[in-house]
């Protein structure tokens, strides 16, 4: 196992721990928006898709990259917008707005 891989695994594990700590505090009330919101974040694969597609070494790789970008972007845009749509419905008494 190379040193790079070890470093990457270290980063992965530490980020997982941060994630658990942050998410644990989210109340049940917000679990659905949390899921769709974190879902949008998982669309970060789009970075990988753009890089691979951009390298464009083979036609097949470019085509797969294009599709990957499109699906990931659907995930990103759909996820953020639908989360925002939900969150703007959460209001305190007398329609004060969740701002």
């Amino acid at each position: 196992m190379s040193e790079t891989l070890v470093t990457l695994i270290v980063i992965f594990v530490l980020a997982m721990i941060v994630g658990v700590e942050v998410i644990k505090k989210v109340p049940t009330l917000l679990h659905t928006p949390l899921m769709s919101g974190s879902n949008a974040i998982s669309g970060i694969t789009i970075i990988g898709a753009m890089i691979v597609s951009g390298w464009g070494a083979t036609k097949l790789a470019a085509a797969l990259g294009f599709l990957a970008v499109a699906f990931a972007m659907f995930n990103v845009v759909g996820g953020y917008l639908v989360t925002d749509r939900m969150l703007q419905m959460f209001k305190k008494k007398d329609g004060g707005g969740a701002k």
């Binding site: 949390l34 899921m35 998982s42 470019a62 990259g65 995930n75």
Partner: protein, 462 residues
């Protein structure tokens, strides 16, 4: 230097995601948090787009426009009741993107008889397997939620052995490919086997357990994104993917706890296929007391405190708005009103809160199980609408009941209970509810939306 700047930009994006998620822990800052996180994404995308290594700019740009437009349309069009399916589909698309990235990268690197560097090979095949399972698993989950596919668990003899064999086969193929280089057909076979595994893992899981499955698939989609980061050595991707992976795991654990089941039991138990047979013989049947909307309306109007316990049946009947109208009217009669929400009410974690928020119920009236339970003893009337298993005292009193040990809302401790229901049919889990026969319980039969409208009329006349 440029590479370092890029890394810092990705780090910046990751920080925005973390702070954004943190702000998600309070309703007052949640919306800002989501917007902050979307800026993180924008930053990450822009920095990648203007990186000089991107040659196929127009291809990338086209993908962004097409995917973005369709995503925006879907986000606007989806109904709040269909949110679980939407999340399942989004999970699936994220997984699919990861799968495609690994396939593209495989094709770019593949040279016959020349093995990849081991690191790259491990990352690519891990990404392939996790991505593929996420794709088909999510699609089956979405199909079950949309009721295109039967919600009942699909079980057959030897299922677990088949799944185990398929999983081992995936690992074997990945190992062979890592060891001996690029064989296109074997790689294709690996993809297909992993896709099949995703289907087989989700079909034995019953519709009622879908909340857990969605959480788990959410976690997979994050891990799939992280493995993509391993392939292209991108720290930003790894950090972000791990965050989402962790978030999915936390939610999975919360859901399992709320149903008092282990994750293994949810995944391999085939719950719902066998529950019906185990439920008989426990019920202390008696007679039920029906109540008319007139009497129920008077009971509510003269109560001091009323707690509504909504379940998914409320959303199916599209009765959230009628419920809020009734609640508003009761408040005008100076009745103290709030809502008790069970963690698994609805079809995904927190779903019921969203559905009620859509009907303009203020969120400070939506109380979690732990908050509302101690207050129920002092509550005059509890109205159960479209919920069943989550208020069934068998979970406390009847060892051997399929739901025994599940945390429930203790509505039987209230002074009076009005149970709104279509009929005496048992709920999703197929278990009889002794609460129907409790002497404090009155049954108000009928369609939830119509009955609530009738109650509104009655309360107005009081």
């Amino acid at each position: 230097m440029k590479a370092a700047l890029m890394e810092f930009a990705y780090l910046g994006a990751a920080i925005l995601f973390i702070v954004g998620l943190k702000w998600m822990s309070a309703p007052s800052t949640a919306r800002k948090g989501n917007i902050l996180s979307s800026f993180g994404m924008l930053l990450a995308i822009l920095i990648t787009l203007f990186d000089q290594h991107i040659l196929g700019f127009w291809g990338v740009f086209g993908g962004i426009v097409v995917g973005g437009a369709l995503g925006a349309w879907a986000a606007r069009a989806v109904k709040m009741t269909a949110m679980p399916q939407m999340v399942a589909i989004l999970n699936g698309f994220g997984g699919l993107a990861s799968l495609l990235v690994s396939a593209g990268e495989w094709d770019r690197l593949a040279l016959p008889e020349f093995p990849f560097p081991t690191d790259v090979a491990i990352s690519i095949y891990a990404s392939t397997i996790i991505g593929a399972v996420t794709v088909t698993g999510s699609m089956v989950a979405a199909g079950k939620l949309q009721e295109i596919i039967r919600g009942r668990p699909v079980v057959f003899p030897g299922q677990h052995i088949l799944n185990a064999l398929l999983f081992v086969a995936c690992l074997g193929m990945a190992g062979y490919l890592t060891h001996s280089g690029a064989h296109p057909y074997l790689f294709l076979a690996l993809n297909l086997a992993a896709l099949a595994l995703g289907v087989l893992l989700v079909i034995p899981i019953g519709g009622a357990d879908m909340p857990v499955v969605i959480c788990l698939l959410n976690s997979y989609s994050g891990v799939a994104a992280a493995t993509t980061g391993f392939i292209i050595h991108n720290h930003g991707l790894i950090i972000t993917g791990a965050l989402v992976g962790a978030s999915g795991l936390v939610l999975t654990q919360i859901m399992c706890k709320a149903m008092n089941r282990s994750l293994a039991n949810v995944l391999f138990g085939g719950f719902g296929a066998t529950a019906v047979t185990g439920a008989a013989g426990t019920s202390a049947k008696g007679s039920v007391r029906p109540i008319t909307p007139e009497d129920a309306g008077a009971l509510l109007a003269y109560a001091e405190s009323v707690v509504f316990v909504p379940g998914y049946g409320l959303a199916v009947a599209q009765a959230q708005h009628a419920l809020r109208e009734l609640a508003d009217l009761l408040e005008q009669h100076s009745v103290k009103v709030c809502y008790g929400i069970h963690p698994v009410a609805g079809r995904m974690p927190g779903h019921m809160n969203v559905l009620l928020a859509e009907a303009n119920v203020p969120y400070d009236k939506l109380l979690d199980m732990e908050v509302i339970n101690p207050q129920l003893e002092r509550t005059d009337v509890v109205v159960v609408v479209g919920a069943n298993d989550v208020v069934n005292p068998a979970a406390r009193n009847t060892p051997g009941s399929p739901i025994y040990g599940m945390p429930i809302l203790d509505v039987d401790k209230a002074r009076q209970i009005i149970f709104m229901k279509r009929s005496l049919n048992p709920g999703f889990a197929g278990i009889d509810n002794e609460l129907f026969y409790n002497e404090k319980t009155s049954m108000l039969f009928g369609d939830a939306a119509k009955t609530l409208a009738a109650l509104v009329t009655e309360v107005k006349q009081v």
